[in-house]
């Protein structure tokens, strides 16, 4: 996975994607024609000041939102005109999400939180338990299955959230400011975990962040400004291992 393979299949292919909120005088052009390709196995950081369109872009990429114009192909399939249910199925089967605020269900054990996407995938109970347990071990939380979020530290909660995102073996993992609520040491731990998931498991990761230190862990940095892509650069990831 080093260097650029000759003709990699793009998982994500945006061409001239626009997103406009509102109508008439009050309309906001959040995306003004984005071209972006993300190949399998990439670890990409999306940066930019607030209002630059990076969050809108991530929502479109994560199939939580639909573009106003242009085409978005996921694994070669156009998703721009999909119904909410079709997009839900796409998220269920191919995508994983990690949020800044962890978004774990409170008063629910770590194991049950990780199981949640599998419940929607109709995985039988025994298999669900086994997969969730394995995912928790992968993020280094083996033995904490019965802890509820309030009994876990911020870093641990984010690990549970990452376990929840990878338990379904997603094609792409979307991380929205995954270290935004964490201190530096814990942020480093989380970035190590994401790096190893990318390198060991080959999971494609797209991460929004506004911290250059965090973006430095990735191998490609895309900068947004005023609804355009300002720059798209290969990065030599930091190694603090």
């Amino acid at each position: 996975m080093t260097g650029m393979p000759s003709a990699p299949t793009p998982i994500i292919d945006l061409s001239q994607v626009t997103k406009i909120y509102g109508h008439g005088a009050g309309e906001v052009r959040a995306l003004r024609g984005i071209d972006l390709r993300i190949n399998a196995g990439e670890f990409i950081a999306v940066m930019g000041p607030s209002g630059s369109g990076k969050s809108t872009c991530m929502n479109v990429l994560g199939c939580l939102d639909t573009p106003t114009g242009g085409t978005y192909k996921f694994l070669g399939v156009p998703v721009g005109n999909m119904s909410p249910d079709q997009r839900a199925l796409l998220r269920r089967n191919y995508l994983g999400f990690v949020f800044q605020g962890f978004n774990l269900l409170s008063r629910t054990t770590a194991l049950e939180n990780v199981e949640l996407p599998l419940v929607y995938r109709h995985v039988p109970k025994e298999q669900r338990r086994a997969l969730a347990r394995k995912a928790l071990q992968e993020v280094g939380l083996g033995g904490r299955e019965t802890h509820v979020p309030s009994q876990l530290s911020g870093g641990q909660q984010q690990r549970v959230a990452i376990a929840r995102a990878i338990v379904t073996q997603p094609q792409v993992l979307f991380a929205d400011e995954p270290t935004g609520n964490l201190d530096t040491a814990t942020s480093v731990e989380i970035m190590k975990l994401l790096t190893s998931l990318n390198e060991q498991r080959g999971i494609t990761i797209a991460m929004v962040t506004h911290e250059p230190d965090i973006a430095g862990w990735t191998r490609r940095i895309v900068r947004f400004r005023d609804g355009y892509i300002e720059s798209d650069q290969i990065n030599e990831p930091v190694r603090e291992l």
């Binding site: 939580l64 909410p84 249910d85 269920r92 089967n93 978004n103 269900l105 008063r107 949640l116 995938r121």
Partner: protein
């Protein structure tokens, strides 16, 4: 898909015990109230029927005067009955098992230091047979005592208790007004009548004794007639009416100056009344069930707002709108059904306690139990649907951003 929604809904209910408890409280109270009311009502109905049975089987009562109540004016102006009327009924009406003339008056009963205001009933040896009222001890009046108007009496259970306590009254002399008479027997207790009177508060004397030595005339105030088993009381009633019209010279077509009451009629009228009351109480209680439904909707709506972020998370990890809808709906129905079950248990317990306190029998109405359960589940569906739809229609991005 259904199985999943149930898993998620049950987890959610277990996750927030306090909120779940508050949600179902309205339903619990509503169902409990309906069941309690119906249980008490049914108990009262059964009690009325039992009471009427207690008065005596196939009992007809002949009163003078007109109308159901036999009000004072009409009664006093109508001529009294005589022993000849009583004998004529005995001999001429078919299907009669026993006939007892009665004359009643209030008096003061005194024994030793005890003093009790009670009713004196002058009648004959047929009285206890007509009223299906066995003696607790002693004996009935003899032929000669009846003929001579002897100073003997049989005590009702209340009078016995008030005058004698635990002492044996047989053979003792009780003073009734100016008359001193010997106790020859005591009656078993019949308890309260359906009209709320204490039936045991009486002293029974020979008819002639009361006529001669207490009221001072030869009148018979009313006649009790019991029909033989298997004989239609309607037929006996009709025969009694035509016989008495003839004897009392009532012109054809004119209103009679007496009336014959069939206790069965009174029984069915009273049963009807208590039924209506029961339905009324149940209807009022049903309103509280409706209020309980609104309570469920209220708390579910609050819960949707409170759980917006959670719903966003669910949508992000792949839940479809209908998964969320189903989850919330099942939560509401499960809560309502659970509330229904608790309400039924509570209502039946309260009903059992209340019927015990009111001394009416406990009647389990399976129909109303099933109905309230079905109704509470329906309330869950109806009042759960609106919040559930609201949850399902949330936009995932908005929901995830919600604080």
């Amino acid at each position: 898909m259904f199985g999943n929604a149930i898993i998620l809904a049950l987890r959610e209910i277990r996750r927030n015990v306090l909120r779940s408890t508050l949600t179902i409280l309205g339903i619990v109270i509503g169902v409990g109230a309906v069941i309690t009311m119906v249980t008490i009502g049914e108990g009262a109905t059964a009690q009325v029927q039992q009471d009427i049975q207690k008065l005596g089987s196939n009992l007809l009562q002949v009163f003078r005067g007109q109308g159901f109540g036999g009000g004072g004016g009409a009664r006093s102006s109508a001529p009294p009955f005589s022993m000849e009327d009583v004998n004529a009924i005995k001999n001429e009406v078919a299907g009669v098992r026993a006939v007892a003339p009665t004359i009643g008056t209030g008096t003061q009963a005194i024994y030793g230091n005890s003093n009790w205001s009670t009713q004196v009933q002058g009648t004959d040896d047929q009285y206890i047979s007509v009223r299906d009222w066995p003696l607790a001890s002693g004996r009935n009046f003899s032929e000669s005592e009846l003929r001579a108007g002897a100073a003997v009496c049989i005590l009702g259970a209340t009078v016995q208790r008030e005058l004698f306590g635990s002492e044996d009254p047989l053979g003792a002399n009780v003073r009734l007004g100016k008359l001193s008479c010997q106790v020859i027997g005591t009656l078993t207790s019949k308890g309260q009548s359906g009209f709320g009177q204490d039936q045991d508060d009486l002293v029974v004397l020979p008819l002639r004794t009361v006529q001669r030595r207490i009221v001072g005339n030869a009148d018979v105030n009313s006649i009790m007639v019991s029909a033989r088993d298997g004989v239609s009381t309607e037929k006996v009633q009709a025969d009694l009416e035509s016989l008495l019209r003839e004897r009392r010279k009532v012109r054809p077509g004119a209103d009679p100056d007496f009336n014959v009451r069939d206790l069965k009629e009174i029984s069915s009228a009273m049963t009807q009344t208590t039924r209506v009351l029961t339905s009324l109480l149940a209807a009022v209680a049903a309103v509280s069930l409706l209020v309980g439904g609104v309570g469920i909707m209220n708390i579910m709506l609050v819960s949707v707002t409170e759980r917006t972020r959670e719903i966003g998370t669910r949508l992000a990890v792949g839940a479809m709108a209908r998964d969320v809808l189903l989850q919330f709906l099942i939560e509401a129905v499960t809560l309502a059904a659970f509330g229904g079950i608790i309400g039924i248990a509570l209502g039946l317990s309260a009903g059992a306690l209340a019927t015990h306190a009111f001394h009416v029998p406990f009647v389990l109405n399976v129909g109303i139990v099933m109905l309230s359960f079905a109704f509470s589940a329906a309330v869950g569906i109806i009042f759960g649907y609106f919040p559930a739809r609201r949850a399902a229609q949330l936009d995932p991005i908005e929901a995830l951003r919600h604080e």
